[in-house]
């Protein structure tokens, strides 16, 4: 196997591109550090000085609101300077390649890029071509990975459930196009949950997905049985084109999360969603707003988790904390 470019010579986090290939101990370190930052959001002075003097660029080639905002807040609470650059497709029309864009920005001395891009592998590509002192965080690349989203989901699960080993986790929806699902699967299997299930019609299940260590269900009711955690994925409206699904109506009937179907899950099961939600498509309003939903907590936890990832990648740990490999 090729060396993991996410890690430095000592096995420490240098870039955060994908959950795949990272050890359980490193993921736990991220969660533990995020836990220590979670208090910061509740303090009156909402800042720690870990990244003072550092400049972080949010480089978004794809529209995003929550992810970009939580990255920005996370960076500011670490006392870093933040620049947001939204590059739409018109730059590509002008003929500037991704590498050109990158080299122009690097000439301005930045310390970290937080990248979102429509192409799978874009964050890897950037990490391979940045100057040695620059760190790259993947904020979503094509269908490949969205590792900070997966880690904030893990953070939320651990806060509610305590430990991972006994859990059965069901991921429902468009697995085929979902970078979130791929990163969640890697995180859950690395953290050692009992079982990961993916639930969708065959048109939305990628080929050979079992090789990632999941069980495939096409029947929602069977897949939800005795689940501890149920994660609904966003269904993009454009999936109705291209013969993947007949209609949103039928999808909701068969795969939409409702109180009635969730009765099959464990009584204390939690309901998660990476957002933004389509009410009445993948999830009913009563479930999304109901007592078992932790959807808004996920958003809050995004800040602490992103602070942890940024601090670790930049090599700045809080005082007194060691860096176990």
């Amino acid at each position: 196997m090729p060396r993991n470019i996410q890690l430095d010579g000592q096995g420490r986090l240098r870039h955060f591109l994908s959950i795949e290939g990272l050890k359980r101990s490193l993921l736990m370190e991220i969660l533990d550090l995020a836990e220590s930052f979670a208090g910061v959001t509740e303090q009156t002075v909402k800042k720690v000085p870990l990244l003072r003097g550092k400049t972080i660029v949010n480089l978004f080639f794809e529209a995003s609101t929550r992810t970009r905002v939580t990255f920005e807040l996370a960076a500011k609470r670490l006392s870093a300077d933040v620049l947001n650059i939204n590059i739409n497709s018109s730059s590509a029309v002008k003929g500037e390649t991704l590498l050109d864009t990158l080299q122009n920005l690097e000439a301005m001395y930045y310390d970290m890029f937080v990248v979102r891009h429509a192409d799978s592998g874009a964050a890897h590509f950037i990490a391979e071509h940045v100057l040695p002192h620059v760190h790259v965080i993947n904020a979503g690349d094509g269908r490949h990975a969205h590792p900070t989203q997966a880690m904030l989901d893990m953070f939320t699960i651990r806060r509610v459930k305590g430990e991972f080993a006994p859990l059965t986790v069901a991921i429902v929806g468009d697995i085929l196009h979902s970078r979130v699902a791929r990163s969640q699967i890697h995180a859950l299997t690395t953290l050692g949950v009992n079982e990961v299930r993916v639930i969708a019609p065959k048109t939305l299940i990628p080929k050979d997905v079992e090789t990632l260590g999941v069980h495939v269900y096409h029947d929602l009711r069977r897949g939800l049985r005795d689940a501890d955690v149920v994660i609904a994925l966003r269904l993009q409206h454009e999936r109705m084109q291209g013969a993947l699904l007949p209609s949103e109506h039928e999808y909701f009937q068969l795969y939409g999360l409702t109180e009635e179907k969730l009765a099959l899950a464990k009584p204390d099961a939690i309901i998660m969603h990476p957002g933004p939600i389509n009410r009445g498509v993948e999830i009913s309003s009563s479930v999304a707003d109901g007592p078992r939903s932790v959807i808004l907590q996920q958003v809050t936890h995004g800040i602490a988790v992103r602070m942890a990832v940024m601090a670790m990648a930049m090599g700045s740990m809080p005082l007194g904390e060691g860096r176990a490999a």
């Binding site: 991704l98 192409d119 690349d141 490949h144 080929k207």
Partner: protein, 431 residues
């Protein structure tokens, strides 16, 4: 130039020759094999002891990038690379810019190749005008201009009726159609095999059925029209089985495979290695084994390079945004020799797949050392170890996934029409 090639291991599969023999060349042709012709005085004697002497290699698919993409490569640069690789005949597909759908373009390419005089360049004419898949091309004129077959390159002829008519019209002119088997709706802008690697990396996949559906459709049309058809660069085990079955049934079909599909699989993509971005995509180990078996059995009659030289920038982007293809002329022979080393087939069988079998598909009297034929000869040292360093490649394109591979066997001298067009400095001594 009169040449005497001494003491080489002459392998000429067409004539069932595999022996230490001498070879004499005069006036650009093979003058004699084994016994010297009367009153022969060589201008030069080549000591070929330790070398294999075989017909110059024939590559059924090499993109030379001229006309239209001279920033990637030119006919001059790539025929020189071919000479360095022991390849003396290159078949150029019609997706140049402009497309080879008029005699003028075909003649331009042939003229450029003649000017460089490093290798023979044969052209395939466009099966449909502009490769657009709607109007059949002027095949009569293209044949008269030297095109040795018709092809729609990598563009699909989506309309089945147009494909039927094109095949009928090609058959009218006794032309072979060279088919790229791909259903464009099923491949759906994919860039890797639809399988575990595509799933893991989140890259859009091209299913096996994209190839097999197209093979099945075209095979039915071959049966209907009686045209001679050659399936280029098969990538799946299932397609090899379909071709074998059709050959058993007596259909006039043949097929080839690229050298890289005989060695790489989807696993080699690793973490988005764009040098492994090729079309058809690298598939599974099971497919690779079936391609090797199909080659050994003779279902697949030829190994091609599918040479696609690129400028460096073409591979510097996220995987799906990079251009597919490998600069492959210089790895055709070494990758093929690995098949002998790995026990897939014998050396004479392998050389047949690189010489007279593709020549038969082209219906040309090349690819042999028969007395009186053009003296296209490849001399290679089968034991020479070397490492592929992209910076040392002769091709203008340095895009290869085989950088750093250790090979055994390397071209020493290449003769094209009796002229030395390539000679490696160190291992061979002049006399």
């Amino acid at each position: 130039m009169r040449l005497h090639v001494r003491n080489g291991r002459v392998i000429d599969p067409a004539n069932k020759v595999d022996a230490i023999q001498d070879l004499w060349i005069a006036d650009g042709r093979i003058a004699a094999l084994g016994k010297p012709p009367a009153d022969f005085r060589a201008d030069r004697t080549i000591d070929a002891a330790g070398l294999v002497v075989c017909p110059g290699l024939i590559d059924l698919c090499a993109h030379l990038r001229e006309p239209g993409q001279e920033h990637k490569a030119t006919i001059a640069s790539e025929t020189a690379a071919a000479a360095a690789a022991g390849i003396t005949t290159l078949v150029c597909p019609p997706d140049t810019d402009p497309v080879i759908d008029t005699p003028a373009v075909a003649k331009l390419i042939q003229q450029r190749a003649q000017d460089t005089a490093k290798a023979r360049v044969l052209t395939l004419g466009a099966l449909t005008q502009g490769l657009e898949g709607t109007q059949i091309s002027e095949m009569g004129a293209l044949k008269a201009a030297g095109c040795i077959g018709m092809s729609n390159a990598r563009r699909s002829v989506a309309n089945t009726l147009v494909m039927r008519r094109a095949m009928e019209y090609a058959a009218t002119h006794d032309l072979t159609v060279f088919l790229h088997a791909e259903d464009p709706w099923l491949s759906n802008h994919g860039c890797v095999h639809e399988g575990q690697v595509g799933t893991r990396l989140g890259l859009p996949g091209i299913p096996e059925a994209a190839e097999t559906v197209a093979v099945a459709r075209d095979m039915a049309l071959v049966q209907q029209t009686g045209v001679r058809a050659h399936f280029c660069r098969l990538s799946t085990a299932q397609a090899v089985r379909m071709v074998a079955r059709a050959q058993y049934d007596g259909l006039p079909v043949s097929a080839d495979v690229s050298a890289h599909h005989l060695h790489l699989t989807e696993i080699d993509i690793g973490d988005f290695n764009s040098q492994c971005h090729v079309l058809p995509p690298l598939r599974t180990q099971r497919d690779r084994e079936a391609l090797r078996a199909g080659l050994a059995k003779g279902t697949l009659r030829s190994i091609c390079s599918d040479h696609q030289p690129h400028e460096a920038d073409a591979k510097l982007a996220p995987f799906a945004a990079t251009e597919p293809g490998i600069s492959a002329l210089e790895t055709l022979l070494p990758l093929s020799l690995r098949l002998v080393e790995e026990g897939v087939m014998s050396l004479p069988e392998l050389i047949a797949r690189l010489t007279h079998q593709p020549a038969e598909l082209l219906r040309m009297e090349i690819g042999t050392l028969s007395v009186g034929t053009a003296a296209d000869v490849c001399l290679f040292n089968p034991d020479e170890p070397w490492e592929l360093v992209p910076e040392h490649m002769q091709s203008r394109g340095r895009n290869t996934p085989f950088a750093g591979w250790q090979f055994k066997g390397r071209t020493a001298i290449t003769l094209f029409k009796g002229q030395v067009v390539f000679e490696r400095e160190s291992p061979v001594r002049k006399k």
